[in-house]
Symmetry: D3
Subunit: 247 residues, 6 copies
């Protein structure tokens, strides 16, 4: 099976990080197609970046549909554009945030999230509330490590993240940690070893869940809010992507 | 004071309907600047349309900021792009959906929403949950009248809406009705007279609430998820609009 | 339009404070009629005071109805007697607590309340839960400044309030502050300037919202719990006020 | 022990009904002191009646305190004035509504309430939400039998109530029924026999729970919202009752 | 009336403690039959112990049914096996955890629980959520005093519990304390005297509530999840106990 | 990897059905070890059967641990004994109910459950509430087809299930269906084809999720309620199984 993994920002180094995390856990027989938006923000930190990342992201999803991928992964922890992508695509779409929250729920009664910037906290809280898993998450914590510093200053970033993980275990009585940024994927194993609790990372979680859905032949329901697009004018760029994704 | 009212779709007739509803209730001394997106969907029905409407909408918000408007109204009942617009703008931003829900809460313990297409139901339910007002809304009901038929086939559309209002009063024990589409603005008064309950319409509600916020000098808090954009590359179109909206 | 603003305690100095806050924000053409209960508690601090304030309050609401005011404001942050007043009056009724919570929701994802006495905390929490806005309020904080000290010892009171505002911003990660007492109205602007976040005060919020409702011709729904009083004996004092408020 | 049972309306026949229900279940050694308000509404149907019943009710509670009763029961299903009575009294106070909901929770996972007038539905829903037991109550149903018809037209009233009980079992999948009016007390046993499920009635439930609290020496906590009244002027009538209830 | 009080662990000293607490509050005319499981864990600390305690517990409940007791009390604060026991028995069944939570709700708006081991916290939180009373409980606190130390090292255990009670009053603003273990029953009165708030203990609470239910002839509804067992093979031990409990 | 799939009832035909569903979706390299309890109920319908199934189930989990399986699946839709199994095992444990709910959340905003007997409804509702996914489930529906009829009278059972699926789509506006019994596994594909929506079945869902957790090296957190058993006497049968599962 082929899984498209879209990094909805434009930073190639981050796409590489994401691709590595995806490939590492993919089953034999799963081909990971990692890509990034052609245009949009260089990193996604907060509501505005998430909104402006949508056109570039949807374009990649549409191209993936046209090329016949079996599933799509949106590799931003905010699950940017997830509802729109599900409406656009026939193949299942998995956000790395939701993937991590759901899998954490199988190994911990209560988890905390450790993310990058404070301004992302309400984005994630809003998602958790919608998914229904807010009751499983004790707290969303920010390190105020900017997304791109995860690449450029990895050592100091890891240190600040580890401090916040420790605080979550002590103050929140969290039983597991969810890492709240695709760029944190390489840190999960070592943080888990260091702190002695499960540390869930979204890229790998989403790839495995996408494999599950494909194996079980479960695709997005088309009878509710994710129904196929009505034909209508949406402007040149979006008309093209709707056409691209048409069955 | 000047209030920018943005119709985030590209249908001029609908902008006219919205402008009329806004002007009708604006206080003396309030100037309504009604506009519409330069590009984007011709109507907003569901998650995909809402997502692809965002670039055109944010552009208008940014232009409004640059021109010094006192407040912004997003005239789509889905409150499309509301969080991103609040992060972008210094002036307060009001969505017509949230405006209607909040005002309905002052005149009814429980209300129902009557909207256009079924695929919009989860969009509105998600908003209600986030705003906290889901407990005040008994049910979101769809008429499956397409948005643009509100303009082109007004009489038959009104009839189907009235039938759904009656059902909401009887089956949901709703005490007021919220009309779930900007294009329904002209129907509020007559539906209220016909059914004997308050019928709240979002465009007029949002204009009055925007006037309130300006009069009380209440503007969007910048210490949380709606903080000012970090400087970063977001692609030409979005870099321009962030620059336009800079103070 | 004429808006009746009832201070449901018997302290004239507090009525003056309330009247000043109301007049300051009233639109041109809005006449503020500020009054206070003829009998009842000198200040409202907790459930008992709120209960015993009801007869005096409802009397003023009934007199307002008879005199044809366009809207009523209950100027106690506990929203004392709000449901009963809505059942009694045809004109819309706005509580200053609910007004402040709703307006705060347009400028902050999460707010904290800073009020007077600890015993009022459950009163406000109960209101927030009922209005649906408990999910938007991080915490209700008491300063243990008695209501009447806001008049008699304004400087020291302000200091303690400011300390609590700072704590709310730091510990609760609140994005805005709601001031939880009518007597705090004069402090809103300076606290907002000092702390750099929106500070919402209920009297001005309620006056503007009352203006909104009147402008939009939205009055209390009479098909649910706020239906017109059934004819029945209620004792001399209350029979008179029901008669006074009859259309 | 002595338990004061206050009917907060002024209809003596209803006090007799309530007294009979209370005496029937009281333990040996429990003295029931049944009384009614000196002034106030002849029946309590909705928010306004509940509010205007408060002075007469609190007066009786204060007299009970002065006379040294061991516990108080408020015999209106709306739990009118419960918070104020708890602040006033040192002895425990039990509302018949809350008593019925709590006991029903021991014999049914989910129950429905069958009450008198539709306008009381939001009063009861608000209480259920506050008590935390809204999740246990499937639906509050009104028969639109006026309270006083329970006395004057008992046979036809019982018939309509029985129809609604049947509907609750079938449509709500309720496992027990809570009768939502003190005046329905005589019907509980026969309705339970007829429908084969527990039927909980508040007066008897409250008397037994009051006995429990007294036996366990559990009295209202005075460290929160039910703390003892601060000394202050509250008007002649209320100053007297606060003085009466002082320890 | 006869009330069976089952200690679902196998420690006789703890059964004695429980029996003493039960007898102390039982009404004249109530016979307490205290017993313990024949096999199972020596103490119940966490999910595993709770699960393995079920066969021994249900056996005692079945024997109680056969012998015609009027009500059953499950004397483990986790309310171990409560749903199964209710399905098995015709007589009402009361768990000491639920009994304490419900009674605490009559004397405190918000309470905290002080229990033994940390691993029991999610057990109790799960119960509170299910009963609907999670909104009344501020926090479940563990002392990490093992259950059996309550017997063997009573003085030091009491000290640690008292420290946690003080923390609950200060940090949680709790208005009452619920003691989260049957073995803490002897401490309730002195802790209440020491801290000046109601301290609710489950064994006595459950006995009084069982008396209530019997007096009011309220027994478990048999139309939902607690319906009588279908005839089927369940293995020798369980077939016997189902047969024993058959009417 | 080896996954133990335990049918916690004693009906061998049902174990065969479960094994077939598991094997069908297992990845290459995954060995399914399907087994059933040695003793316990022949089918699990409601709280009592669930409780009495626990000893037999835990015994199989302990044997699985000793034999070094990589993950455990509890193949009863009630997720019987899930918490106790997680405390007992080091390897991850997945219930087929939770597996189905979580996967359904990726393909439907709202789903309904179609299960066997009415008495199981509260069991499943309680699980959904605890997992956090109650907000995603519109309704749990019973067909009142006994579990074992799924084997013995497959055709008529399927018909009744299909009728209920149709009702869920129409009345609940569900977007997907979750089949609420392990014995329904063979029906998922044909019901999905017939009704045009995703139909999620728990056995296959749990197997794939167990594979995910193993691939991602995510095992149950041991710092909360699922911590390793304390050493203590639990009776011969349970002492043995705790010993068996010790690392």
């Amino acid at each position: 099976m082929r899984i498209l993994v879209v990094n909805p920002n434009t930073t190639a180094a981050m796409t590489d990080t994401i691709a590595a995390a995806a490939v590492k856990v993919a089953a034999e027989g799963t081909e990971i197609v990692a890509t990034q938006s052609r245009d949009g923000p260089e990193s996604i930190e907060g509501f505005l970046d998430g909104a402006v990342a949508i056109p570039g992201l949807l374009e990649r999803i549409a191209e993936g549909e046209r090329s016949g991928v079996d599933a799509h992964v949106i590799a931003c922890f905010d699950d940017t554009g997830l509802d729109a992508a599900r409406a656009l695509a026939a193949a299942p779409v998995v956000g790395i945030g939701e993937a991590a929250y759901h899998l954490a729920s199988f190994v911990a009664d209560r988890f905390s999230v450790v993310t990058t910037m404070s301004r992302s906290i309400p984005v994630l809280e809003q998602n958790l509330q919608r998914y229904g898993l807010a009751s499983r998450c004790v707290r969303v914590r920010a390190t105020d490590v900017p997304v791109l510093e995860l690449e450029s200053a990895a050592a100091s970033a890891r240190k600040r993240i580890s401090v916040e993980v420790a605080a979550a275990l002590k103050e929140d009585r969290a039983e597991a940690i969810v890492l709240g940024c695709a760029g944190m994927a390489p840190l999960a194993a070592s943080l888990s070893a260091e702190h002695g609790v499960p540390v869930v990372e979204g890229v790998s979680a989403a790839v495995k869940l996408a494999e599950c859905l494909v194996a079980l032949r479960l695709a997005t329901s088309k009878v509710g809010g994710w129904a196929e697009p009505h034909p209508k004018a949406r402007g040149a760029r979006f008309d093209k992507l709707v056409a691209d994704s048409a069955p």
